[in-house]
Amino acid sequence: MSKNKYWQSFGQLNATKAYTEDAANEFKEELPFEMDDNGAKTPRRDFLKYLGFSTAAATLAASCEIPVKKAIPFLNKPADIVPGVANYYATTFVLDGDVIPVVAKVRDGRPIKIEGNELGFTKGGTSQRVQASVLSLYDTARVRFPMEKTGEGFKEAPTYEAVDKKIAAALTAAAGKQIVLLTSTINSPTVLTVIDEFKAKYPTAKHVTYDAVSYSGIIQANEVSYGKKGIPSYHFDAADVIVSFGADFLGTWLNPVDFAKQYAGKRKINEKNPTMSRHFQFESMYSLTGASADERYTHKPSELGAALLALYAKVGGAVTAPAIADKRLAAGIDAAAKELLAAGGNAVVVSGSNDVNAQIIVNAINDKIGANGKTVNYGTMLNYRKGVDAEFEQLVADMNAGAVGAVFIHGANPVYTYRDGKKFADALKKVSLSVSFNEREDETTAECKFILPDHHYLESWGDAEAKSGYLSFIQPTIHPLFKTRAFATSLLKWSGSTVADYETYFKAYWISKLGGQIAFDQALQDGVMEPAAPVVAGASFNGAALTDAVAKLSAAKKGGKHELVIYQKVSIGDGKMANNPWLQEMPDPLTRACWDNYAIVSPETAKEFGYATQAELDEYEVNPPKRVLKITAAGKSIELPLIIVPGTNNSTIAVATGYGRSEKVGRAAKGAGQNIYPFVGFNGATYEYVVADVAVEKTDKMYDVVQMQTHGTYDNRVEVVKETSLAVFKKDPKYFINERMAEIGPYGGIDGLEEKGTLYPVFDKPGIKWGMSLDLNLCNGCGACVVACSAENNVSVVGKTQVGKYHDMHWLRIDRYFSGDMENPDVVFQPMMCQHCDNAPCENVCPVAATNHSSEGLNQMTYNRCIGTRYCANNCPYKVRRFNWHDWNGADSFKDNQNPLVEYGRLNEVTLDMNDDLTRMVLNPDVTVRSRGVIEKCSFCVQRLQEAKLTAKKDSRPLVDSDIKTACQQACPTNAIVFGNVNDKESAINKVRTQEGYNRNYYVLEQIHVLPNVSYLAKVRNTDRTVGNHEEGHEAHGEEKHEEKKEAATEAAH
């Protein structure tokens, strides 16, 4: 059987019939003519009726007068606002403890796009959640005014003053009992001082920090090992060897944007002297970070302690490590230990475990290898998470005992995220005053007596201290949309402060601290204030608790047949932003599924649950329904569909948090997935996100999980990703060039292909020729670009039902390719968007010339000319063209015109949400909103290109690189994307293609002579293994392919 070396699905791997058929059909369905037994449901007569009606309607509409439009200028125009010209304000994305300095683009008073702040420590990087946060501002489910619970439910409170009075009275009544501020991590210096003032006013007041996903293990371990209760900062940019035990530091762990930036610094290849950091990943499920790793090993979730101890022993720790049965894993630990020791302190070990003992061992290892004070920095502490689990457990106990008189909840949502939400809800009922400051009526807020909604961060004043000494400022970019009030203002009011509100407090605080208005204004304008260089310091390691930790880890309970891992999805995380349609529709990098959570199992385990034969697997791949598993542990059970991910440990079942929200959370979150938080365990000190023994049974039920992986396929064209190992690349820098030459050599070679590879003339590109380069070595698949693209280009959200019909609209997708064996495959991510081919196959087949080529090398799409034949999509070798099967955007034709489609089940409710007048404020006014029946695709952010050219023209100077950044390029935390004018010899893109990246540069499907304007830099993995499709070595490459073809031919003959 002919096997593809890189595969997106099992079907592709084995070239099955179902897969081949699926790939052959560009469009999943026939034209939407519904047939029943008597023939077409829509017969000719109906057709004529509709034709007549629509002609009449069109005539009627045309004879109407053109509506009168009004132009209403300001009464008093502020000097710095020009309608139609965007303003940019530096502010800071803050979500619970997450802090990322950003710049908000404000058009005509509305924030419409978030970019990273290049002055900040994240150096302009963003995450999917940062990009999506602007949509949350316009979330229809936000609480719009203060509310008070009456008999039946919440009712609007007349004014904040009235509420303040009631709360003040209740606070007096609660005297003697505890008054608790229950918040998610707060790292704002001013809010913390406000809280201190509040505590001073009410002596019984207490501040409890509760994080949805806890990092208590690290915090407490550092207290034990170093006397520092907190999280040190890590320097992945200084680490030549990185060993991670399940820490998804590129995806979800602490601040992935910061870490990804650091990590990328050591992964960027300098072709003259190629070096890279070496990354070992030990984990149970396939994480985003694992996908970037050079060497990846899986272990049972319960085996973590043993693995850590084994590594500790190998790096010289005085412990007897438990034996590790898995030979591959044991060898991996040996190799990691050897390299850690050799790195001379330029190495780091991290673990995603929330177990104090495991983290103590991690500290011990880091101390042993000399990382303490080098890559693990106790001089600058991270403030992202501060919750200590035992404190929250104590609080729940106190509340149940009736010792708490008042609870103020900000950011936290324990009814949903706590392991026993009902217990917390019951406890809350015993507290006479409960106030929530959350922005929506989430599960916890619903149980409170008052809701005093806080502003969205884009409406707020504030500050944040992400790491000690690293300050970021928040300034409002829009007047509060609703009657909301800052959390700290409420506290100030109740503590009887003389300061009227938080804004005044905040300004006074910083003006006095910075020494004047000018310094303050400057700080606001920059958005950040950071030390010139990070303070790096070690701490003295206290090994006293080590013996105890080793003993406890060694005695850890052995896992059962199936073990549950609770993880955070890259997009949804802990579920705080679950009602964000952009995040919900962003496919998970590994599973490529969206709108749900599910139980991830390995292909081996799947056999047990009904996916053993090829036919069953085919069924699994091509159709959305997946087998539902029932997972039971400690009396709780949950039913979830299974998703097969190769590279998952065979005893592991992994389920993501953040799903299964209550109806009030919003229309996007509603009905998506199940809540896995109840399965979180508590070991007396910290929460455990691993359940060592769960019972799993197969049910008869099926459940639709929509995945985008197999939507676009390259049919049977040769591999589109190129990869090799660092060793091979060092030995043979021309490796990729030779590979390319094998394909295109006879047709003019690399330089002559355009001219000699075709009969057609070569067209001039005077002035500008746009080009993009993507470095597969830097891309970690996080998906920030996907959301950024949606935000910039008004890309429609289609909802789960339509994704299931392959109708997703993303202009930019990140393809995930597996290679290697089924147990331990490697993963390569490849962002794929319109390649803007200079010899584009789509352009030739358009009957109305709606898609054609510009003199700047853009493949242009003209929506108002498109008649929707979809020939172009069919002829696109990269499968990047998207068809508007429905009027996703309502187009204002008439009111409620989408409601029937939603009721009928064609569309999901999220479409109504996206069409709400409030939500539509997020639309970019420079980009047309597409209507039904037209094709769309990546435009290289042409609106930005045009604007950049105009700026240069106005300044009467040539275009330079800094003028133009596409949305994906700007969002990327690792700078994997380079874009610019190829004709400009000084441009980065020209340098990448002709100098810096010359040896790794390649074009996807170059041999079909479509002349793409998007190039890729091949991936290099720092490993001694042979990677990708080059098992037989490079020399044999040509022959191998030849053989493959022959095999395929015999196959076909059968």
């Binding site: 008093n76 002035g767 106005k954």
Partner: protein, 414 residues
């Protein structure tokens, strides 16, 4: 088969040629006009004394016949006034107000401005008369031809009828037996011809009006305040950019906010100029219109202060582009140096504004085909090496907007 096409193309080219000729006259001295309006018009008029003297015949006065002196004066009035008594007197005459210096204007620019002033000074008197006489006959002719065609058609019909009657008579005479004559309204040939004619004219009209859907050339809605561009931009020579500053900065030219109106109208509270008439002949009370403005602004003219909150004026938007069109004013004004009047017509002569151009795509494209970019002047175009070489080698003499891709779809549609 090719013949009609060729004819059509030829006649189209001819039309285009004629149109080009017509426009070519207008574009003469455009640079001087632009420079005059951006730099001089706020203080000077050609034929009228404003803050500064009228500029008509400037070259014949004082030292200005010497161009060198004029340059020196414009570049540095204060310096020049010290050396030349005429200039010093001029300052005295205008209450000691010294002209603003324009060191940025090159000598070529100043020449262009003088050129414009000279043309303007000579053409002023017969200007409007010439246009009316040019317009009138065209309209009359078409009407005349129409009536003539109708008359001819009726005559032809009558003749045909007579012809058939005569034929009938001769037939009867010859003894040819024919059926009962068919009345002409039942005659199939007539009916067929009629239907075909109806179909053709109907089709033509439908196609024409379909093309015109959403277009609103000559649209002139009644605005909440009778604001006369003629009074402001024409007679009083207020620079367009004073109110529509956005035109140089961004996408929208922007209707000025009320505070911009009040900058002047705090002082100007009555209208004393010549009478203003609406299109239908009714007279407009300028002072009453200013009062309306005060109401919007919340200004009390007697107390001379703002007394109420005010509210923005809901102007009716005249120029409406479809949503799928991206248009940026600054692209045309600042980068392209196009005059407001090129698209908006002689706005300084309009009472209430109407839409001068049809704003159709064909209209945009035509202009992009014919207009040259500032290829040598603007540093941006230094990137187009090939064109620079071609110009050097004499292969081309100018670069149109089209040449740099200005007629491609995604320059306006994205």
């Amino acid at each position: 088969m090719n013949q009609p096409n060729l004819l059509l193309r030829k006649s189209f080219t001819l039309c285009l040629f004629v149109v080009t000729l017509l426009f070519a006259g207008n574009s003469f001295a455009q640079d001087g006009k632009a420079l005059f309006q951006t730099n001089c018009a706020s203080c000077h008029a050609v034929g009228k004394k404003l803050t500064g003297p009228a500029l008509a015949g400037v070259e014949e006065r004082g030292p200005w016949s010497d161009r060198k002196k004029l340059y020196a004066w414009i570049h540095n009035p204060a310096g020049f006034a010290k050396t030349e008594a005429y200039a010093a007197n001029l300052i005295k005459e205008f209450n000691g107000i010294l002209m603003t210096g324009f060191p940025g204007l090159s000598e070529k620019d100043i020449d262009a401005i003088i050129g414009y002033i000279n043309i303007e000074a000579t053409k002023k008197p017969e200007g409007p008369a010439a246009t009316t006489t040019a317009d009138q006959p065209a309209e009359d002719n078409s009407l005349l031809f129409g009536i003539l065609a109708m008359v001819l058609a009726v005559v032809a019909l009558i003749l045909l009828q007579i012809n058939s009657n005569l034929k009938k008579l001769t037939d009867e005479k010859d003894g040819v037996v024919r059926g009962e004559p068919v009345a002409f309204w039942k005659n199939k040939a007539y009916i067929a011809t009629g239907i075909i004619l109806l179909f053709l004219t109907g089709g033509y009209l439908i196609a024409q009006s379909a093309i015109g859907l959403g277009r609103q050339q000559n649209y002139q809605p009644e605005q909440p305040i009778y604001y006369s561009h003629k009074v402001h931009a024409g007679i009083n020579q207020v620079n367009c950019l004073y109110c529509h500053g956005g035109a140089m900065e961004g996408k929208h030219a922007n209707i000025p906010s009320v505070n911009v109106c009040m900058n002047c109208h705090m002082a100007i509270n009555e209208y004393k100029g010549e009478k203003i008439f609406k299109e239908d002949g009714t007279e407009v009370n300028g002072t009453a219109e200013i009062q309306k403005l005060y109401k919007y602004a919340g200004w009390d003219p007697t107390a001379n202060k703002y007394t109420s909150e005010g509210k923005p004026i809901e102007w009716i938007k005249i120029h409406n582009l479809p949503d799928h069109v991206y248009f940026n004013h600054s692209q045309h004004t600042k980068a392209g140096g196009v005059q407001c009047q090129t698209c908006h017509g002689e706005i300084q002569k309009m009472g209430e504004v109407y839409q001068f151009s049809n704003l159709s795509m064909g209209w945009c494209i035509n202009c992009h085909r014919e207009t040259n970019v500032k290829f040598k002047e603007n540093g941006f175009y230094s990137m187009y090496e090939k064109f620079h070489n071609d110009i050097k080698n004499g292969k081309m003499d100018s670069v149109t907007v089209e040449k740099i891709g200005g007629t491609e779809c995604q320059k306006c549609h994205y």
